[in-house]
Symmetry: C2
């Protein structure tokens, strides 16, 4: 083959950048969130000329949160930034994606291979040129530096496969002088995962069936991993066929529609209502399907769950009572359960979850947290997706009825304040048919709320409800001081700063109903609803939680 022919072939080969774009698109990713910088300009240019849409956020940390929410809906998300000043702003959001199993691909530009020889003091460098990679080794499941055209494609596929298989974030670094190198995309060997051992699965299934079939009051506790691994239909089938009722955790809230027959509510130890608590804690066989037993999921470990009555199936292992079956993952176990011979039970009753359909505002009554959620429960329509920031926005939302699957998103484990507004960008880009309703406190809004600017730029229409209790309300019952105060903002003025959106100021129940209905009817722009609460007004769930937390400070 002469040089001309080789050159022509190379020109037809994709570059590292185009191969990355193609691989993301092939996996359903249509939007990449981020901010450019000189080390990443070439990447941004390639993305802009591909079928991907680049979404510029105001700050990089928001790009990480948006990509996280996008990944929770689509199954994979991506954030692209420059080296150092961009990448290291994504450490916290990536840590959250790791903890909560959200497969975000972090893509970072980097100094060119030809620049980093010797001890060059290039801008955005920290200690040496490996600092950022080593930091991301701590918060991602796999990493690759695409600096070799011969191995780049294999490396790219390797890390994307890890993201898809483990539902954890991964890290890809591309030196700027490598981004346009042509690469070889052939001759890849796809790794074969170890198959599930049939004998182990049979032994585990037999033991589980014996427990389930003998139980008088079995219950399913469905968790977030059912969603992450795309097993919602398998779960629904099992709920219907088995006739066993189910609860979800906070993290697993809305993993399937809360109108599904058999649904008893969200279980979270002392955070949950008495009916759900009794259904779970007095059960003689709890089938845990993908529920992580985190502190918040268990109401700060106030959950009383007796191990001898538990079958716990997770992404990594299966535990029955106090022993473990290695290598039996949630997908294998749930598939086996659906093919198994279950004891016949009565058909599922309709959902016992209380769902008011009407909210009557008391005239002149000052608005309270409880009434906010009662109003939302009655007013929210099927196309509304709820995103709750950590704190009372999250706890108050536990008992909201979510009509469809995945229409509730919250970071209920890692709990990074300021997640919700940027997450709304990712959610609505992922599913334009959904209208995001963001529930966020006044403190968290000051962290990232100005990302409404990004909503305006890209024509997104979230409804952002700022639950303003004049500070970090979750912390006041634990230990209070001026450090829990927040400077007051006239948050509806954000619309003038940004030059878009509609603001609503709420002091009474009547104001609230008008604001919620007005925002829902005004589908063409974002809304910001400023709910002026008393500083000492907490949801009942938060009161129970913080009385537990207060003992630990």
């Amino acid at each position: 083959m002469n040089d001309n022919v080789r050159d022509q072939q190379l020109r037809q080969q994709p570059s590292i950048s185009t191969a990355l774009c193609d691989a993301l698109l092939a996996r359903g990713v249509k939007h990449v969130f981020g901010i450019p910088g000189d080390y990443a300009l070439s990447l941004f240019d390639t993305m802009t000329h591909s079928a991907l849409t680049v979404v510029n956020t105001c700050d990089e940390q928001s790009a990480g949160f948006a990509a996280d929410a996008y990944a929770r809906v689509v199954g994979l998300g991506a954030a692209c930034v420059t080296y150092g000043v961009g990448g290291l702003k994504l450490v916290n959001s990536t840590a959250q994606a790791y903890a909560e199993r959200s497969p975000v691909v972090v893509i970072s530009g980097a100094p060119g291979i030809s620049e980093i020889t010797g001890e060059a003091l290039l801008h955005h460098r920290v200690r040496d040129f490996g600092t950022q990679l080593r930091v991301f080794e701590e918060v991602t499941e796999a990493q690759a530096v695409l600096d070799n055209p011969n191995t780049a494609y294999g490396e790219l596929m390797r890390v994307l496969n890890v993201a898809e298989r483990t539902k954890r974030p991964v890290y890809i670094e591309i030196p700027r002088d490598c981004a346009q190198l042509a690469i070889d995309t052939t001759a890849l060997i796809t790794p074969q995962l170890a198959p599930v051992d049939p004998a182990t699965l049979a032994e585990a299934l037999a033991e589980a069936l014996t427990m389930l079939n003998a139980a008088q009051r079995p219950i399913i506790l469905a968790g977030v991993e059912v969603h992450r691994f795309g097993l919602q239909d398998d779960l629904l089938r099992f709920i219907e066929v088995s006739g066993i009722p189910f609860a979800t955790t906070i993290m697993g809230k809305s993993v399937v529609s809360e109108s599904t027959p058999g649904f008893v509510g969200v279980y979270a130890g002392s955070l949950s209502n008495a009916q759900v608590r009794s259904a779970v804690e007095e059960s003689d066989c709890i089938l845990n399907l993908g529920a992580m037993l985190t502190d918040l999921n268990t109401g700060i470990f106030t959950a009383h769950l007796e191990p001898s009555r538990i079958i716990m199936s997770s992404a990594d292992t299966l535990t029955i009572r106090r022993h473990h079956y290695a290598g039996i993952d949630l997908r294998a176990f749930l598939t086996a359960l659906n093919a198994a011979d279950l004891k016949e039970r009565a058909p599922q009753p309709a959902s016992t979850h209380v769902h008011p359909t009407e909210f009557s505002p008391t005239p002149d009554s000052a608005i309270t947290v409880s009434r906010v959620f009662e109003c939302l429960d009655a007013e929210l329509t099927d196309e509304v997706a709820v995103i709750a920031d950590p704190g009372d926005a999250l706890f108050g939302a536990i008992d909201l009825t979510i009509h469809s699957r995945t229409e509730f998103i919250g970071c209920a484990y890692y709990a990074s304040l300021g997640f919700a507004v940027p997450a709304a960008l990712g959610l609505q880009m992922a599913e334009p048919a959904w209208r995001p309703l963001v529930l966020v406190g006044d403190g968290a809004f000051q962290m990232t709320g100005l990302e409404l600017s990004t909503a305006a730029r890209y024509g997104l229409t979230p409804i952002v409800m700022v639950l303003d209790n004049q500070g970090y309300g979750t912390e006041r019952p634990m230990l209070d001081g001026p450090f829990n105060d927040v400077h007051p903002w006239a948050v509806t003025e954000v619309t003038k700063l940004i030059g878009a959106g509609q603001g609503y100021s709420v002091h009474t129940e009547v104001d609230l109903v008008a604001a919620v209905r007005g925002a829902l009817a005004d589908t063409g722009q974002f809304a910001i609803i400023h709910v002026n609460l008393a500083a000492d007004d907490f949801s009942p769930a938060l009161r129970r939680l913080t009385s537990t937390l207060g003992k630990r400070v």
Copy 2:
């Protein structure tokens, strides 16, 4: 000693938290920047009841930037946050402090020792409970987990000593159930540093003197390390006694007053003006005192500096021509120079740095970047301290005349956008007599500009000038696309959102003069000046720089 006596003694001993407060106060730190969280509430409570002032920022990353600026003025700064969601937001700002030698103490709460047994899934946890510590090992010079009352005091002193000695950030983690443990603060052994070897110093000094005394056109290139190690007075003495003129780097700008006789200007390769460039590059002996030869300091390596004419003294080593003298640091070398027998030269002439004292606005003339800086050069008073965000705000500011030492702060090496507004909080807390003037682009303002809320809360009065060229202007000449656009903000509306401050909208030169004078005269509140520039208006320095950078993308 019976138990009662022991208990009484323990009660009189400081706790880990109070020892930390005392140690910070003893080192001149009076303000700690941060946001609480349940793992850090006890720490915040102790700080609030100590002589320290806690300054709550809107987001944690701003606390990191504020502490960095504080450290640059005071010599040590501190940020305090909660575990995970707080700590990991500080990675980028701490990386900048590391790269630019700013001694910031990062203090993080953490889950209690009694909680982290086993595999507990506590909120804010990433992979395991060591994740955050390992991340900070990459971006700090020393780390300590204060979880043992017997060793806590020694560990605390060790990391604070490292911060002071190396001028790098350090990391302190305190499990929440350890914060109030009484500790032993006696019997510490202070490490003795290896002394400078007198024979090596003598040999180095003799060689340097031979070069300096033989030189016809010697010049001093003074860098930021002179400031970091507190050697400004030594430098001034040497400048006066030696009669050798001096330039500074961008990072070293204002290391001593720019009114000092002998000052020729800021040198940065092709970024600098012809006069300064000639003085440095045509010198036959360049005495580099603490100037880091970073890419931005050298105009992206456009500096033409011939090694055979250079004496380079830094915090770590001394290099003359192409050979190194180990263990001779900047302090030792500068002290020796001041005691040495220098050739007599003519007294320093007055500064040749051009300093216009009057700015005459052309009526109806649209404002441009060049004219902004000409106006500022004439209007700024001695008490104004300039903080420049990376980008044209920084490059345009190179030739501003800074009247006092340390009154110019910029992150001219690591270059993290969004540094300047939070830095103004740190600067004015550190030195209330200074009025911060923040120069920031529209893109960077959207990252952290709302920290003006924190200024309002604590009565700080920065003047923030937003140089709005409708996007990431620094990047457009390199490679342009929609990813360099920024959604337009009516930035003066920030005053209504926050309920404080005075806004000025500038379209013409006449507007600008009125705004600058108005803001300077109105000393009781913060000001925000919105300078509406054309999208293609760059400073001449930026034009030169980006034509170099464009070749590398």
